[in-house]
């Protein structure tokens, strides 16, 4: 068999994706006016973005900031949807707002396909991933996920207060995606670091940020080599052998897709599990009802996803244009706030209330358009099983110290510290 020499050992030997990119000035500190100076990474936003979004929706409704080299924040459902569907005028070549814009010649592939890809490349790249995330593929992972959740609760023995984010929610998607990709389960803590580096470090000095992202790719290349030497039945081996348009994927595509699956598979669901438990810890009526009516959980879960949608995506404007009353410039960022869309009263009745038996609930927590989350069945399974096991084992719990709860800042929002009293 021919030696597979597609993959370098170090990230520095991957094709360059940075030359020709542009850097912007890093601006931090308190926001003067959310309509003209918003920042989704400041503590005020992280702590409670909903009143800010509601206010902007009423008076703006498309906010702007000079930070990050220029960015827009639409807050109405219809505007978020329009942008998510418009792949002609908005590119996905990068979907995390920061102070570095990668070069345009990365289009239409981007650094982490298919989320960073535009049509027509996007189509085949996405279809490559779909089979791994079908309902039946996910169903096979459910027993292991359930057993793991029980193991985590077993570990609470003898404790009155546990951290529902750090001791529970965080570990569930981390373990599941590590198994799917075929990474060593003991590497879990490193994934948390990778997630923070990619999603939360956006206002770090650009060179430091790049260096941190490189650590993730070094790790992925190491895993790729381990899989080439020891092939096994997992997603990494699948991607190494996969073909797209009659050719095998190159090193950037394989490592980029792995990066996407790892990052998108971890803190999104961890945030959704944590936010749901946070809600139940402080809303005894909903908690008691779900304990009494476990059959309501799938419906309630969709409401938690609507009300506390963890994920905000982003696009870059392709050309200068006048769009729905604002003047967008080429390479301006646009945040796609699915959380804001999900609380638009024009789209949802009682939009600002958590109604756990809401019947019609076409929320946008998994996004909209061609990039809608490829892992939604997996995320739903993890969220449902995590909540089922928790409510079965720990039907009584409250926030141990509401002021100690902290939330991640940035485009994925969920509790990062969540002390709850269980005994």
């Amino acid at each position: 068999m021919a030696v597979d020499d597609r993959f370098p050992r170090r990230v520095g030997d991957l094709p360059d994706t940075r030359s020709g990119g542009t850097r912007s000035e890093i601006v931090t500190g308190p926001v003067a006016d959310w309509a003209t100076d918003f920042s989704h990474v400041e503590p005020e936003w992280a702590a409670d973005p909903y009143p800010i979004q509601d206010d902007l929706r009423r008076r703006c409704p498309i906010a702007h900031t000079e930070r990050f080299g220029g960015a827009w924040l639409p807050t109405r459902y219809e505007d978020v949807a329009a942008i998510a569907y418009d792949t002609e005028r908005f590119t996905s070549r990068t979907v995390i707002v920061g102070n570095f814009r990668p070069p345009r010649d990365l289009e239409p592939v981007g650094v982490s396909p298919p989320i960073s890809s535009d049509p027509p490349f996007h189509h085949e790249a996405r279809r490559l991933l779909l089979p791994a995330f079908t309902k039946s593929a996910v169903r096979r992972l459910e027993p292991g996920t359930r057993a793991f959740c029980h193991e985590l609760v077993d570990g609470f023995k003898g404790r009155d207060v546990v951290d529902a984010a750090q001791d529970y929610a965080q570990h569930i998607p981390t373990r599941v995606i590590a198994d799917m990709l075929g990474f060593p389960p003991e590497d879990g803590p490193r994934f948390r670091e990778f997630v923070e580096n990619v999603l939360e470090g956006i206002n770090l000095p650009t060179d430091e940020r790049i260096e941190r992202v490189d650590r993730l790719f070094d790790y992925l290349l190491q895993q790729i080599h381990d899989h080439i030497d020891h092939p096994r039945d997992d997603l990494t081996t699948y991607l190494i052998n996969a073909e797209l348009g009659g050719r095998r994927l190159d090193a950037s595509e394989v490592s980029g897709m792995m990066a996407l699956l790892l990052i998108a598979g971890v803190d999104t669901t961890w945030s959704a599990i944590g936010a749901s438990l946070w809600h139940l810890a402080r809303t005894p009526a909903d908690r008691k009802r779900l304990v009494a009516e476990p059959g309501l959980l799938p419906t309630a879960m969709e409401e938690f996803l609507r009300a506390y949608a963890p994920v905000t995506m982003a696009r870059l404007v392709k050309q200068d244009m006048h769009w729905r009353g604002v003047d967008m410039k080429a390479d301006d960022w646009v945040l796609l706030s699915f959380p804001a869309a999900n609380r638009d009263p024009a789209q949802f009745e009682r939009a600002d209330e958590v109604v756990i038996d809401r019947r019609v609930n076409r929320h946008a927590a998994f996004g909209l358009g061609v990039h809608r989350c490829v892992g939604s069945h997996l995320a739903r399974m993890e969220l449902r099983v995590a909540l089922e096991v928790w409510l079965e084992r720990i039907p009584e719990f409250t926030l141990a110290d509401p002021s100690a709860v902290t939330w991640a800042a940035g485009q994925v929002r969920g509790p990062r510290t969540l002390p709850v009293r269980i005994g």
Partner: protein, 67 residues
Amino acid sequence: MKIIVDRDKCVGSGQCVMTAEGVFDQSEEDGIVELLDPEPPAEAAADVRLAASLCPAMAIRIEDAAQ
């Protein structure tokens, strides 16, 4: 109404399943659209039309019988 889906165009976004459950599903093999009911009852018509309009890949076509 009669529904026609184009499996080649589909990108498995799942919007149709979310909008008109019972009419559309995603295949267990490849995640691509599966038509459960090509000629759904009249009460599903509004959801189906919405699903067709929401499909980001424009993979759902509706042929109307005389109303």
